[in-house]
């Protein structure tokens, strides 16, 4: 079962964002766009440039969330940054998601802390939960997990909760 394509007329702000994104050319691919939500995917090499574009051109000034997802079949991790805007006119209802796929064998991304100071703790959490290293982050030490955690990062699909069956 897959999502049925529903034709919804996009509000003007979303259309303007999509128009601006064409300036990035191949560097950012729009995954989906619906009212209030836009997701783009980028390569790791272009992440910093796209993040600067999201801040300066699209006027999104806060990082609301960072989600890391493990896709073991593709042997990839998808790190998604969700940005919201405070000072952009009419943009507060919109969340722009910037997703980046990295190989599970050596997950590494440049840190966005210089561009969005608000990613600080979100990146730290993603590092310990999925093992993705954010290069340039000043402190990626233990945050939520116990200090003596001695296992693989727990949000990887290979990590099974103790006491749970393989079939669950």
């Amino acid at each position: 079962m897959s999502a049925a394509p529903v034709k919804v007329e996009l509000p003007a702000e979303e259309k303007a964002i999509l128009d601006s994104l064409t300036k990035l050319g191949d560097k950012a691919k729009v995954v989906f766009s619906k009212p209030n939500r836009i997701k783009i995917s980028v390569f790791a090499d272009n992440l910093v440039e796209v993040a600067k574009f999201v801040r300066d051109e699209l006027r999104f000034d806060q990082c609301a969330n960072v989600t890391g997802t493990d896709f073991p079949k593709e042997k990839q991790l998808e790190i998604t940054f969700h940005f919201n805007s405070i000072d952009g006119a009419g943009l507060r209802r919109i969340i722009v998601a910037v997703a980046c796929r990295v190989p599970s064998s050596a997950p590494e991304l440049p840190s966005l802390i210089e561009i969005f100071p608000s990613v600080n703790y979100h990146e730290r959490e993603t590092t310990e939960m999925l093992g993705c290293i954010f290069k340039g982050h000043p402190n990626l030490s233990r945050f939520l997990l116990p200090e003596d955690w001695n296992d693989i990062p727990p949000m990887l699909k290979a990590y099974r909760l103790p006491g749970r069956l393989e079939s669950e």
């Binding site: 079962m1 897959s2 209030n36 969700h82 405070i86 507060r92 608000s118 600080n120 749970r164």
Partner: protein
């Protein structure tokens, strides 16, 4: 046998004139949380938060449960704000299931959400009162909080964990006598808020300890990504209820308080005003809500579409959002919870550094940081 004690747990001199002190992890306010401060005299020169003492892996747990089964587990993360933490989860699940919930269910969600906000703010006020050495401001709000817990019990059946805003609507309709009871409670509590203002919020002791203390300027509040009362106290009129209105907040007449000063006093005042506004919203809901069903038809093993959804609501402490990635099965593939306490934690070291040790409790609790919610 002596227990091993990590060196970080001890108070230690890091330089001739500096001392590192560990605060917590046994309930510095409410919930287990630890931070270390380095002091020079009575000035804080460094502050390092160390959360995670109540991390229970709620995100991982959801991967083993159906959408409905996750509800009771998820609301344990934020016991003072149970309706608002499961509402965005249910909204995201409904988007993935492709169902629209009945209008009456939306009104009931708003009533419970706003009631929850008052419960949470009263709890906050009690702790802030005792932190500032004001015992009456601890006793009164916690006593009055019980009346709102009673109101929640009338609808939800339980006192704290209602599991009320489930995917598909709400669990049950409200009883017929709820409206009379609620209006009686609000009439009482509106007078009571005036008393609170008189004994606590206008108390010279409160003013001296909060005004000009822990100031977060507007531009820093935005760049650090704080939400809720912390953002509104720094003169940003941002609230998910007006930014991206969910349920029927578009039709509601209410104010979002903001203050220019960005100090501890402003963060406290936002809490006070919001309690009044929450009652105003519930009164309007009770007048406007239509009759009808409160739940959409839903299978316990309801399937979802392949895709992702990002939903957010204004919780008692700020924007509460859920990002769900679905592979089309009956269980979510990945759930990410972005909670206001976690987002506001970044302001703690920023505000503590440069403050005096005596101001630490007032600043810490003005952020309304709930460790269990932040750790998930």
């Amino acid at each position: 046998m002596s227990l091993p004690v990590g060196s970080g747990m001890l108070t230690q001199a890091v330089a001739d004139d500096k001392l590192t002190v560990s605060i917590g992890p046994q309930h510095p306010g409410a919930g287990h949380f630890r931070f270390t401060i380095t002091v020079e005299g009575d000035e804080i020169v460094d502050a390092v938060p160390d959360p995670g003492y109540v991390h229970r892996g709620a995100e991982k747990q959801t991967e083993y449960r159906t959408y409905l089964q996750s509800i009771p587990m998820l609301e344990r993360s934020s016991l003072t704000d149970v309706t608002n933490i499961i509402m965005p989860f249910s909204m995201a699940a409904e988007e993935l299931m492709g169902i629209e919930i009945p209008p009456r269910a939306k009104y009931l969600r708003m009533i419970m959400g706003e009631n929850q906000r008052i419960i949470s703010h009263l709890y906050w006020m009690g702790i802030q009162g005792i932190f500032l050495g004001h015992s009456t401001a601890f006793m009164w709000p916690l006593g009055d909080r019980d009346i709102f817990v009673d109101l929640g019990q009338m609808i939800g059946g339980a006192r704290i964990t209602y599991s009320y805003a489930i995917p598909g609507g709400v669990r049950n309709d409200m009883p017929d006598d709820f409206k009379d009871r609620a209006i009686k409670v609000f009439n009482y509590f509106e007078k009571r808020l005036v008393d609170y203002e008189r004994i606590f919020f206008q108390n010279p002791l409160f003013l001296k300890r909060t005004q000009g203390v822990g100031v977060l300027p507007r531009n820093e509040a935005i760049s650090l990504g704080v939400v809720g009362q912390v953002l509104r106290a720094s003169s940003v009129k941002s609230d998910v209820r007006i930014d991206e209105p969910y349920n029927f907040y578009k039709d509601m007449d209410f104010e979002v308080p903001t203050y220019e000063t960005g100090d501890t006093w402003a963060r406290c005042m936002v809490h006070l005003v919001e309690m009044r506004q929450s009652m105003r919203i519930i009164r309007q809901c009770l007048d406007k809500m239509p009759q009808g069903p409160v739940r959409a038809k839903l299978s316990p093993q309801q399937r979802t579409v392949v895709g992702e959804a990002y939903s957010r609501v204004e919780g008692a402490r700020g924007a509460m959002s859920f990002h769900i990635i679905s592979d089309g099965s009956t269980k979510p593939y990945r759930v990410k919870i972005s909670v206001p306490s976690f987002r506001n934690l970044i302001a703690l070291p920023r505000l503590l550094i440069g403050s005096h040790v005596a101001d630490m409790p007032a600043i810490y609790w003005s952020l309304d940081y709930w460790p269990v919610e932040a750790d998930r």
